[in-house]
């Protein structure tokens, strides 16, 4: 307890001691000496040396690493962008090429279809023409056959009628001449009628 009291007394007395330490001289703002300058330089040199070894190199290193990282990232990003642009250009070229090819295919299909249509049309026309020709030929043959049959029947009928009228039989030569003569007349008559 006594020690604590003594300590407290000393502690309270310190301000007075501090005041007593002042010499009472007028304070001089230029107070100091060459030793101040020398100590300052020594302390500063120590600071420069130690900070130059332990503080600034890590800071500079981190800055350089960061600059390198940022530069690398920017370079990488630039390369990636250029690659992406190149890829995009390739894709665009491929798309354009595919579009051209598709257009060409469609155009070719259209041309082929037109050619097929044209060919089918011509074939149909040719077939129709053939059918018409054949029909005409058949009609002609049928007509000729009908006319011949008509001539034959008419001749026979005429002979029969004439035989009956003149009541006489003709010799085969007369008969043939008569038939031939009748046919000539009928052909002439028929030609004049058809023309």
């Amino acid at each position: 307890m006594a020690q604590r009291l003594t300590g407290l007394c000393v502690f309270l007395a310190l301000p007075a001691l501090a005041m007593a330490a002042d010499t009472g001289e007028e304070p001089n703002i230029f107070a100091g000496g060459l030793s101040n300058a020398i100590i300052t330089l020594v302390v500063f040199v120590i600071v420069v040396t130690i900070l130059g070894k332990y503080a600034w190199p890590p800071l500079m290193k981190r800055l350089e690493e960061r600059e390198e990282t940022i530069r690398g990232s920017l370079l990488h990003a630039k390369q990636e962008r250029e690659a992406a642009e190149k890829l995009l250009a390739d894709y665009q070229a491929q798309v354009a090429k595919a579009r051209d090819e598709a257009t060409a295919i469609v155009e070719e299909g259209r041309r082929d279809a037109e050619a097929v249509r044209q060919r089918m049309h011509e074939e149909a026309r040719a077939e129709a023409d053939q059918m018409i020709e054949r029909a005409k030929r058949e009609i002609g043959l049928a007509r000729d056959a009908a006319v011949k049959e008509l001539y034959d029947q008419t001749a026979e009928l005429a002979v029969n009628v004439a035989s009956g009228i003149i009541k006489k039989s003709l010799s085969p030569t007369d008969h043939g001449d008569l038939v031939q003569q009748s046919l000539e007349q009928m052909k002439a008559a028929d030609k004049s009628r058809w023309n």
Partner: protein, 282 residues
């Protein structure tokens, strides 16, 4: 504490208090202080820097590929200050020599800054029980300290001017007509000396003035019971505002000293570069 303030001359808070002087009878102008509050604060500031800065700059958000590049905590502020100085002040002046001098110039900045900022703390009041005001004070409010820093700056400038330019560095002081060359060289050399010494005076005067102003303001609160009580709120408010200003000034003058050193150093090491620019403009 108020007892001390009441009793003290305001200058007592800013001047050097010497405990051990090798030449105690030399008077105020011929002291050889070995232990003083400014020397102690300087050493404390240096120790703080040496303890804190290497730890602070190493702090990153993580160790993986990305986060190891991301600063954390105070390292952010340190990076902004350091690389702001390097990119905006050192690089334009020093050019290709930037990386060579950057660590040294950063050390100038932080050494002056820590001295300025430690002077902002009312350590002499907190440690009032330490005899002789040995704790506290602004070491950069001492012309011998700032003078030593300025001399180191001058040596740095001249040495590197000679190192990188040889005799061309000396020759570049001699300009104009031959009959004026010596005179101009003398003026140039004196100008360089005064410019660097102005660094010392500027830093010293600003640190001293700011702290004297604060000490005077505080002393107003101790003018007497009634007047002191009336003035106290105003004094406290003014002290708070001036402290903000002083924090700014602490950074500003560390910056000015460093920036001007970089400018003068750049002018010394890049004399050919300047000539090339002149030829280009011509």
């Amino acid at each position: 504490m108020s007892l001390i303030l009441a009793a003290d001359n305001p200058l007592n808070h800013v001047v050097q208090h010497t405990l051990w002087d090798l030449n105690p009878d030399g008077g105020p102008w011929f002291m050889v202080p070995i232990v003083s509050n400014h020397i102690i604060m300087q050493v404390v500031g240096a120790l703080l820097l040496l303890w804190w800065l290497p730890r602070a700059v190493m702090k990153t958000a993580g160790t993986d590929e990305i986060n190891r590049h991301v600063p954390r905590g105070a390292a952010n502020a340190l990076e902004v200050i350091c690389f702001g100085l390097r990119d905006r002040i050192f690089e334009p002046n020093l050019g290709r020599h930037t990386n060579r001098f950057t660590p040294l110039l950063w050390s100038y900045f932080f050494f002056i800054l820590i001295s300025n900022l430690l002077g902002m703390l009312p350590l002499s009041d907190w440690f009032y029980f330490v005899p002789g005001h040995l704790i506290g004070g602004t070491s950069t409010g001492n012309i011998w300290v700032t003078g030593a820093m300025a001399v180191s700056s001058l040596v740095l400038i001249v040495y590197n001017g000679l190192r990188f330019n040889g005799m061309d560095y000396i020759k570049h002081f001699f300009m104009g007509p031959s009959f004026l060359a010596w005179f101009i060289a003398l003026l140039e050399m004196a100008g360089m000396l005064f410019k660097t010494m102005a660094l010392a005076v500027r830093l010293f005067a600003n640190m001293l003035a700011g702290h004297i102003l604060l000490a005077v303001l505080v002393s107003f609160a101790n003018l007497g019971t009634t007047i002191g009580q009336i003035l106290s709120p105003v004094v406290v408010l003014a002290c708070v505002l001036f402290n903000f200003l002083e924090i700014f000034v602490a950074f500003l003058h560390a910056f000015i000293f460093t920036a001007l050193t970089a400018v003068f150093l750049g002018m010394a090491v890049n004399i050919h570069h300047d000539d090339e620019h002149e030829h280009e403009h011509a």
